[in-house]
Symmetry: D2
Subunit: 389 residues, 4 copies
Amino acid sequence: MRELDAPARDVLAAQAIELPSWAFGNAGTRFKVFSTPGTPRTIQEKLSDAAQVHRLTGLAPTVALHIPWDLVSDYGELARYAQDLGVRLGTINSNTFQDDDYKLGSLTHTDERIRRKAIDHHLACVDVMDATGSQDLKIWLPDGTNYPGQGDIRGRQDRLADSLAQIYARLSDQQRLVLEYKIFEPYFYTMDVPDWGTSYAHVTALGERAFVCLDTGHHAPSTNIEFIVAQLLRLGRLGSFDFNSRFYADDDLIVGAADPFQLFRILFEVLRGGGFEAGSPVRFMLDQCHNIEDKIPGQIRSVLNVQEMTARALLVDQEALRAAQDAGDVLSANGLLMDAFYTDVRPALAGWREERGLPADPMAAYAASGYQRRIADERVGGTQSGWGA
Amino acid sequence: MRELDAPARDVLAAQAIELPSWAFGNAGTRFKVFSTPGTPRTIQEKLSDAAQVHRLTGLAPTVALHIPWDLVSDYGELARYAQDLGVRLGTINSNTFQDDDYKLGSLTHTDERIRRKAIDHHLACVDVMDATGSQDLKIWLPDGTNYPGQGDIRGRQDRLADSLAQIYARLSDQQRLVLEYKIFEPYFYTMDVPDWGTSYAHVTALGERAFVCLDTGHHAPSTNIEFIVAQLLRLGRLGSFDFNSRFYADDDLIVGAADPFQLFRILFEVLRGGGFEAGSPVRFMLDQCHNIEDKIPGQIRSVLNVQEMTARALLVDQEALRAAQDAGDVLSANGLLMDAFYTDVRPALAGWREERGLPADPMAAYAASGYQRRIADERVGGTQSGWGA
Amino acid sequence: MRELDAPARDVLAAQAIELPSWAFGNAGTRFKVFSTPGTPRTIQEKLSDAAQVHRLTGLAPTVALHIPWDLVSDYGELARYAQDLGVRLGTINSNTFQDDDYKLGSLTHTDERIRRKAIDHHLACVDVMDATGSQDLKIWLPDGTNYPGQGDIRGRQDRLADSLAQIYARLSDQQRLVLEYKIFEPYFYTMDVPDWGTSYAHVTALGERAFVCLDTGHHAPSTNIEFIVAQLLRLGRLGSFDFNSRFYADDDLIVGAADPFQLFRILFEVLRGGGFEAGSPVRFMLDQCHNIEDKIPGQIRSVLNVQEMTARALLVDQEALRAAQDAGDVLSANGLLMDAFYTDVRPALAGWREERGLPADPMAAYAASGYQRRIADERVGGTQSGWGA
Amino acid sequence: MRELDAPARDVLAAQAIELPSWAFGNAGTRFKVFSTPGTPRTIQEKLSDAAQVHRLTGLAPTVALHIPWDLVSDYGELARYAQDLGVRLGTINSNTFQDDDYKLGSLTHTDERIRRKAIDHHLACVDVMDATGSQDLKIWLPDGTNYPGQGDIRGRQDRLADSLAQIYARLSDQQRLVLEYKIFEPYFYTMDVPDWGTSYAHVTALGERAFVCLDTGHHAPSTNIEFIVAQLLRLGRLGSFDFNSRFYADDDLIVGAADPFQLFRILFEVLRGGGFEAGSPVRFMLDQCHNIEDKIPGQIRSVLNVQEMTARALLVDQEALRAAQDAGDVLSANGLLMDAFYTDVRPALAGWREERGLPADPMAAYAASGYQRRIADERVGGTQSGWGA
């Protein structure tokens, strides 16, 4: 295979993909959440599982928390616990979709009491950030409506803008607000932040430390996601990714599983737009639901997929590509991109891992480690973590 | 408004829309199932709620059961209970999506023990049909896979065909098997019965008493549903409808709420294809989730919407339409259809109801009845019904 | 029916829907453009046809021009010609999709010669505006790519921004630039202005007289268009509509034909957001292709559909709606909207027309006028207008 | 890389992908058909171009004809002409979308004269088949409607069934009828053969020599195409493929360009279902539009993509896959598939070509051949071929 040059190896060396604590808990559909032996009952057990992913791949040094799922009384202690496992606490995610009060909205609610409660929840999340040293408050706003007429679209936007401003004002100079968008679910007629345009309009109104979060599963069919990546990088407002993959809706499958070529194209635009450069505002995270597959190897597979596609993107001969583009040579330009995509980078990345004392094959190493059997044996009793706990 | 003529009034007089028992329980998304005061705890309470819908609209004389959600020890007793409320038991729906055994499949499973269990569940459903006198066994098969390679698509079809044959063989001459299709959810890569073609291929292989069930929310975006209605009627294999509406995926909203014109077009094709004629094999059912709205008025609104759009379809001047179609007069033909759609049939239907001793405005009558307050007060304690119970 | 009150009647009295000159020419698909007797050969004949629409409906006082399709040597003369027919010249639309030079781009092209040519074409369009007194330069940018790697997404955005700035600088203080977006076609991998977010980012960078144009057929499946309407009105950047309807892609069918309820919801948000108020920046236009139906009655039907849905939107009891929304009464709020939608406004609008000396039934009046037969007889020889002429 | 074993090499040795004559002509969108120097003016020149593809790849021994685009007076002579170039004439494609008579339908038309004309056109196509020895009559039926009510969906199906029966009756025992389906375009409300279920219902009604043609660009968004492949193979009715790729609609891009992983999955199901076995009824064809790229290398790239993905599919360890599937090991089963997909087969296929005296890199060999310059120089004057000629 072509060689990864020094700048490419620097990108790979610096690559870090944040794991979501909730990926280690049970997940499912509205029809059923299947449980699995060994599923964590506590945030400490989630961190332990996440640490396995980092230990075997060297790619996942931080773990995102979801509040209130991962509420603890002492975050300093939790941070130290994580540190002993070899990982750090990362992004703080708020949650306004599981309290009966939020049935018809949270940051957009017409009832000032409920809206206040939702704002206060976010302020409490910033308290957690202060305690953990997390940089990002990520807001995925689940608010929306199911029926035409149910809510006043405009009024909801105005209240949202006010709520966000109150939250943003609470942040320190080192902290950022990252606003995620999603086309549908859990509501079916309107979502209050359905597209990147809406998120962009809100974050530019807030200030310089507000950014857009792009979840790769949150778009309409046929949306060109890498275009949005390129555009948000150009506008300086791409704050973070939630990686996963989808065939239909927000399937939350392993990233790269549904359309590996799309993942490659996205990472190529990240590279092209400076998103891998030092000082870039872009953060990388997974957001997935391992409904039927084992969770820890599901996460290992995911971070490896991001790494493999990053390596392929790094193999694109950008100089030749630019020349072919400028010459209007459609087939050559496309061919240069495809050549990198079709190159098998796995042997080189196995070597890369071995150089760092990591296992050449992290999936096999995990299977051989006995960890899965151990947690299945040990984690008996208690309540398995899931989206509700 | 134009008058509904005698044949049209006969169609309206004969119209019956089956209610799903589960519509009265709690429903939601994978993110949250909100609970509501007054939600039934038992099948008896569900029947009581369903009876309200029929009492006020005259449109919903039967209630479909879901097994095992609606399991009772004595179905004869349950049938009498229903009869006392003024309704009857209808279609029996099987359920193979909530047992941990079915995580990777039921009627398609590679493990013969699990596949046997799933077949036996359906045989037990036929036992219930024998006890209740239900005519239809409706199978919505949730089986599918999430990842390419996970399952052998072909092998799963072959096992499905064998399982269905075993179930079909158990039916009496008065009983029917109705096979529903769905493009995705709860699985995201393949569903084993994803489209009408697959359902049609299976039911024609089974025999004359096997039919296709069309759920209006189970198609890919942009699918022309009324075409499928017309085609299945032509092929003699349209067995039943599950009515609901959607903006994005299988939203399960109130029928007619998202696209009333589509509902009109569907009902026009039912009429055109003989689906309202005596002896037609077509049955009409709702299948909805009232995630945020009150359930009983949600069902009342739904059956009224079906009736209103049926009345509009009945207003189409079919003779003139045929003439315009034959003449290639595109705008006139379209105009004739639109004229019926835009006609406000609500006053005529209010009159129709009053002639039958029903309230002119069933929504208002329900609100005034005090029933909602009464069940909220009375149904305290116990476990509210939902998809899991 | 409920009465249209005085403010509602004022909205209707002021309503104006611009007709596209090209709607009167032949249109089709890549497979075939069918021709029709009577199709105009010149812009003068197009204006004559457009004048019929206005004469019979009172709704369409202006006609948009497409350059170079509607190039003439003397626009002052053309304006007077229009005036004699009872209409005025409206928006000027540029065209960069029919010159071989633009195969790989126009305002985004890597070749400075071609990009210059495309910019100059727009400057020439502003010359036309100066001559006709048109207020709006509407840019639908057809640029895009078909294959990944073919073009540099970021570089194309940067060149687009520069091109637009040069064009914007040429406008007078009374003129506006309106930038239309479209998800796909004529290119299939990327479009350079694919979504409202991109258009919004560009127009805010340009200045206060730059706005977004929303074509109702230019979105991904399942996109909530009325949300975008509400959002752009809130942001003060909704400049104009291109109305049409679609079942699949950019079908360019008669507005309201595919989903009349969606048209109603869009117009309700226009009303809610102040888009019908005096001084609003919002302009209303049709953009349709009458591939198989007669063109003049196709346009008549279209403007009537917009009027009828506007009237329905005006019937919404906004005070009651707001109360139901604030009370969280989902079904009542939805019911209030649906009540207006289901009200048959056609008799009232027929009366409204008769008060103004217009025919009660414009479709019938056109059919009875003999105009269609006359133009079929008279317009013999020459080249029928189409997208290429 | 893993080795392609002997059975795999047999599949590759037997692989044949038919080229569409029209791919060498100009194509475009409704907005513009760009012309290119060197575009063929005659079927003879198209055959010459097609022969280049086969000469360099060894994969494309036959060329499909489109009637009347490729009408000649003596097909025996044309067949000899092709033979001298090293290729053979293949499938005959009918065309009922370019005559003004067919504006509202052809095989489904209400006017018996027009329907007769369309049937007769197909009978004439069989005459051509008799003369050329072509085995397949491929019918892509463009018929449909644009507006609800415009046509009687049911009546159109009945007329279609009758028309197809008349055509089928004309075929010899060695000839087949292959019926293609398409969700939309050139009509937007209904297509008369919109989905595989409709095509399947018609071909099973016709007889054993009627099959379904699957065009990979003719489905709704999110449709799982490989499932349809597996199902049609199981039902014994998959007759042929039209390969191309798409991001949005029927984009007709180079096969594998938009989603190479999907192409791999499709070819894996072909293999799994016996579609590559001797005696299989499945034929492989391209159907593409090279709107902006050079046509001959566009076709070379396409057949190479099919070959490369076939080779990857052949690398799947089917025994291990079956074991993982049976064991319910989701991640291992998926991993086995992905391992084959990620393997770079290009060096092995270059060697495979060299063994056969073919150029290792057909794209480079074509560029070096001077053929493109030669045809650009020689083909001056005349009318370039396109969809209309």
